[in-house]
Symmetry: C2
Subunit: 276 residues, 2 copies
């Protein structure tokens, strides 16, 4: 294993949990870039290189899309007032205002609804949970390509799931038609390295990867090891040390901590997704 | 614009629809790789390089994950009988049997359920549509990183959304606990170049990208142009020429064409996702 490869896996898993096959495994600059991902929540105001938006959306459109239906869209927001309103929806995440480009990815069945109306046809398949899920997943695959492309030119990103705190307000701000909803946002910009983030360790690979059939037998051991690793990481890099277990109990322990997203189903229905 | 850059954008959009800013935009091997994506449905039986699975899962785990909850898992399937059964679920997609590695990505809240049980705590936030969506989107971001990593070492992939035709059968085959469900599969292997696919054109960028606010005013023109482009592409590469519009009407026109996925919501509920 090269030193670079060793360091990358150690940063992602901790030195004690480097996957056994990783050392002898494939390695190249693309893989190194993917492993080095970190979410960044502090941005410089510097503008993006010319043509960046076109390039990011082209890579996003190049991702696979279910049956080539392309049931997602993206709204590129640079207007300061709109970004401020989005930050408010997201519980005051000020990096949305700092970043020069804020992308809102939409699950978008409205294009198909317009298509059907123009063709005088009906699309019986649209009102289902399945079809919303296709649109949301396609938006996710597209966005992740844009993240990889952005990082390849030295930009940083962070996903903003908190737009789902109030999808109706997001729809209002972006003038969305019925059948379109923002499923998440993405900040894009140059990291403020004075407040830079480190690569965050993840669960040991055997806790997430199952072979042939699901097997959680080893999970308590892996979780205990990860609790220690994340307590150590958070003590070094964040306000306070915490176990992953405690963070999970805090994040999903009470309905109030969903910050309104317990109403997502009803809100999506009002935006034109029956979710049958 | 370099020749490579020009050719990559022309393949993705058609020569008449290359995005205006793309020519002056950033360009590097990562971007070139993303633009060159194609889904492959014919595989050679050749084995993967040693360590590939560990590497793919490490890149997948390196993707962003909502609040670091890591609410997804992946089952790596190589067993011939299981792959054959998966192909049956997916309506007879034989590339699932051909490829040496079939990854099933799970929305997985069961890990949090076990965690809560072991801690003697309740997780009130789990039974919501929001929480399932987080898990499914996290699985999507993870999988897309694995796709990018696979293609960077010369492998090909295709997503298999048709596992959702029968998520309960998939759960049975993989011995999934309640609170885990396969949201899609991913074939990984070496493309059989005798039956290779070309880069498929996508909708013109202005049909998908909106600036500041949603604006579908130009959509009919963009859709007409794309109908022509895809008819030309399909005449060259597929069984028959078809307009994108007709494909959309066919794919989502009738409930029967969902192949059982109109029952996804009920099936997910039986698998332990209340989707409140």
């Amino acid at each position: 294993m090269s030193t670079d490869q060793l360091q990358a896996y150690a940063a992602r898993y901790g030195e004690a949990a480097i996957p056994a096959g990783a050392g002898s495994g494939p390695w190249n600059p693309v893989i190194a870039g993917l492993l080095a991902h970190r979410s960044v929540r502090a941005y410089r105001p510097d503008p993006l290189p010319a043509g960046t938006l076109d390039m990011l959306v082209a890579t996003a459109q190049s991702a696979a899309t279910s049956s080539n239906m392309q049931s997602w869209s993206v709204v590129a927001v640079t207007d300061a007032a709109t970004k401020a309103a989005m930050a408010d929806v997201a519980g005051g995440q000020r990096h949305i205002e700092q970043c020069p480009l804020f992308l809102v990815f939409l699950a978008d069945l409205s294009r198909h609804e317009r298509l059907a109306a123009e063709e005088g046809a009906a699309l019986e398949g649209l009102p289902f949970l399945e079809t919303f899920l296709v649109a949301a997943l396609d938006a996710g695959l597209a966005a992740q390509n844009a993240v990889v492309a952005a990082e390849s030119i030295g930009l940083s990103t962070v996903y903003i799931g908190a737009l789902r705190n109030n999808v109706e307000r997001v729809a209002e701000l972006l003038n969305l038609p019925p059948g379109a909803a923002g499923v998440f946002g993405l900040c894009v910009g140059y990291a403020d390295e004075a407040r830079s983030a480190e690569v965050k360790p993840r669960l040991p690979q055997p806790a997430v990867l199952h072979r042939e059939r699901y097997d959680a037998a080893g999970e308590p051991v892996h979780r205990a090891a990860y609790d220690q690793a994340l307590a150590s990481f958070s003590a070094r890099h964040e306000m306070s040390a915490y176990r992953w277990t405690d963070r999970a109990l805090s994040r999903w322990g009470r309905i109030a901590s969903l910050h309104g997203r317990d109403g997502l189903k009803q809100a999506l229905r009002r935006l034109g997704f029956p979710l049958r």
